[in-house]
């Protein structure tokens, strides 16, 4: 232990160590206040085939009184657009904080496969980035200032987040979208939004077939779609059980817990798909009906009514999906798992899907009816 010479032999090594560290860094610094943190991007397809791209960047500097910066350009690809846009700003544009991508209707109709490839290739982009389709021009929606709401990009992000938490729109992050896109048994979906005067509203659900937009589900059916798409733990649903001519019998269910299972039976052309849904809910409003919810028998009746109504609506919705050719609820993956591998490979699912027979069955259970009898 008194051998000092061997101990200090390492000193030059440490110097190299420190030196190489100092020389090595610095090139890739992205200091927080010097980068333009793109929060929202929008994509539209121009008639000439070029992309119209806009990005929104929040600004917080004391020197600028703007709370955000919106840059616009048109270019053949999104990365080229990035290069053009960086010429317009004093900040270094980065996409690591990208929260929302808005896809214009024109853009999604043409198919977005290449675009998805670009997005997933970039290691900076978060898989938790939300995707939304704009019914209209995405750039205009983003560029608009909505005076009674927070900063537009924040407004959109919070709106989407809140709505998907209550299951009235499906969760569509980059991860989910790309995962469903590559999976051969399911097609991706995305929420749809549109501008309505001084507000932005949820405009239903955009359906995709592979990477192409093929149709939309109106927002009133969104809850039924959510039940079909998969189980959820917390939801709200208003149902109009139209029975009599004059008064409307309506019920509102809260604390909705839904689960669904899909069963495939038969083979070949006789293949049948049965979707079983279980709903568990609390009644928070019941008007216009003559059922006494305090009575167990009447409650059973109500449950049956709801079940019948839901099953009919669900079947209608599935029909609609089949017509659009979008397997958004993933029937394909159940059919695939039911068939053998060679049979699945032989089947042209895209062609088979619209013709397959689908039945929906709903079982409703009402936990409680509130404080009143």
């Amino acid at each position: 232990m008194r051998n000092f010479s061997s101990r200090y032999m390492r000193l030059p090594l440490l110097l190299i160590f420190a030196g190489s560290l100092l020389l090595g860094g610095c090139g890739d610094q992205r200091i927080l206040e010097q980068v333009g943190l793109i929060q929202t991007t929008s994509y539209d397809l121009l008639p000439n085939g070029e992309l119209k791209i806009a990005v929104a960047i929040p600004r917080v500097e004391a020197e600028s009184n703007q709370e955000r910066e919106v840059l616009r350009t048109s270019a053949p690809t999104s990365k080229q657009a990035r290069i053009q846009m960086s010429r317009q700003t004093s900040l270094q544009l980065v996409s690591g904080q990208l929260r929302v991508t808005l896809l214009g209707k024109s853009f999604v109709q043409a198919g977005i496969g290449d675009h998805l490839d670009t997005q997933t290739r970039d290691p900076a982009i978060s898989p938790l980035m939300k995707i939304a389709v704009v019914n209209g021009d995405a750039e205009q929606l983003l560029n608009q200032r909505y005076s009674q709401h927070p900063r537009t990009d924040l407004y959109i992000e919070r709106l989407l987040g809140k709505e998907s938490d209550s299951h009235s729109i499906p969760k569509a992050t980059l991860y989910e979208f790309v995962r469903d896109y590559y999976d051969d048994g399911i097609d991706p979906v995305a929420p749809m939004i549109r501008r309505a005067g001084e507000n932005i509203v949820i405009d239903g659900i955009a359906l995709f077939k592979d990477d192409r937009y093929v149709g939309r589900i109106p927002e009133k059916d969104a809850m039924i779609f959510a039940c079909l798409h998969g189980g959820f733990k917390q939801g709200e649903l208003g149902i109009r059980l139209r029975k009599k001519e004059k008064s409307t019998e309506a019920v509102v269910l809260t604390s909705l817990v839904s689960s669904r299972s899909i069963k495939v039976t038969g083979a070949g052309d006789k293949m049948k798909v049965a979707i079983d849904m279980h709903l568990n809910a609390t009644v928070s409003e019941y008007i216009g009906g003559d059922l006494k919810l305090g009575k167990p028998r009447d409650l059973k009746k109500l449950e049956q009514k709801i079940s019948a109504y839901m099953a009919a609506q669900a079947e209608l919705l599935v029909k609609k999906l089949q017509q659009a050719g979008a397997d958004s609820i993933g029937i394909g993956s159940y059919v695939r798992n039911h068939m053998g591998y060679p049979a699945w490979k032989k089947t042209n699912w895209g062609e088979r899907y619209p013709r397959i027979e689908v039945h929906c069955k709903v079982k409703t259970r009402i936990n409680n009816v509130g404080k009143m009898k």
């Binding site: 020389l23 995962r179 993933g330």
Partner: protein
Amino acid sequence: MPTVKEKLSSFHVLILIYMTQTGVVIISLGQMLAQTFGLNGWLALPAYCIAVTVNLLLIGLIYRMGQGKSIFEIMEQRLPKALLAPLYLALTAVWSMLACLVAIEYVFIFQMIAFPTTNPVWFKLVIDLLAMLLCVKGVYTMSKASTVFFYLTVWMYPFSCLLFHEFSWKRMTPFFFHEGDFSPMGMTGIYTAFLGFELVMLLFGYVERSAKLMKMAIWANLLVFASYMYICLLVFGFFGFGELQHMQFPLIDMFAFVKFPFIERIENMLYGLLLFTMLSTMSMYYWSASEASGRLFTRVKPEYRGLALVAGTFFVGLIPDTLADVNVWLTWLGIAEICISFGLPLFLLALLMIRKEKGKTAHA
């Protein structure tokens, strides 16, 4: 110092081998399995585990027959040193190059993700220096460092339970091994993920009597297998086969999904933490190379040997300059290493059976 040279205990052997085996490959293993074995490719992992166990049993046989003597002693007691010199040189070359390439692979991946314009040579230099500092201190210190590295990285596994809600068995499909390309290169590539266990051969002389070396090596391999199995299962159910085929580093993408109120994008920590497992692997290979070369250059101090090996491979390591190149090199070296892992024990076995120790009579 009067204290006796400390030897490795069972637990340290376990962790040391586990950390040597676990490498950067873990981040792309899911993709490799999907590409090579197709649907539900993760089910191919048990086969690899069995192959490694067989290999380990072979090494265990040497351990028992050689009565715990180091493999170099076994060879040198039976063959003249001049005959062994080329073998030692080859071992040194393969092991030190493997160590170097493991680091290059890590550096390239890391550079792509976080530091696209920085010259990777700087990263490599610093990592090499760390590995050298570690490997010249001997296997006992390395095992202690590996233990700490193990505790620093193992929390990744409990964290992954945050991903369970996106996991779905449905995505697995009930089909097995369809659509794989079954390429030999891909298969060896996956086998390299398990490599590192063969270095247990060099630990023969360094282990406590009571520590059941071979048992621990087999346990370590099972641990590696379990962790790989878990990660790959998760990756298959998280992304689905279709997407997995298109990804390069599914594990990184998967951890990018994890989000906490105070921090997001955990993958930025993950590839930092991978440095620890990589360092263990790397230093273990450098140490093995240094042990092998020490048999030839007995008078050179281990510090200088380590320095020479790291410096030498550093310059060779400058040649491959893309990730694809590195992967090709790694696969070839992996093949060489697989040959060593099977060939060397077989060679030793033959020696033990055929030739008696020099200077000992047959009935002694």
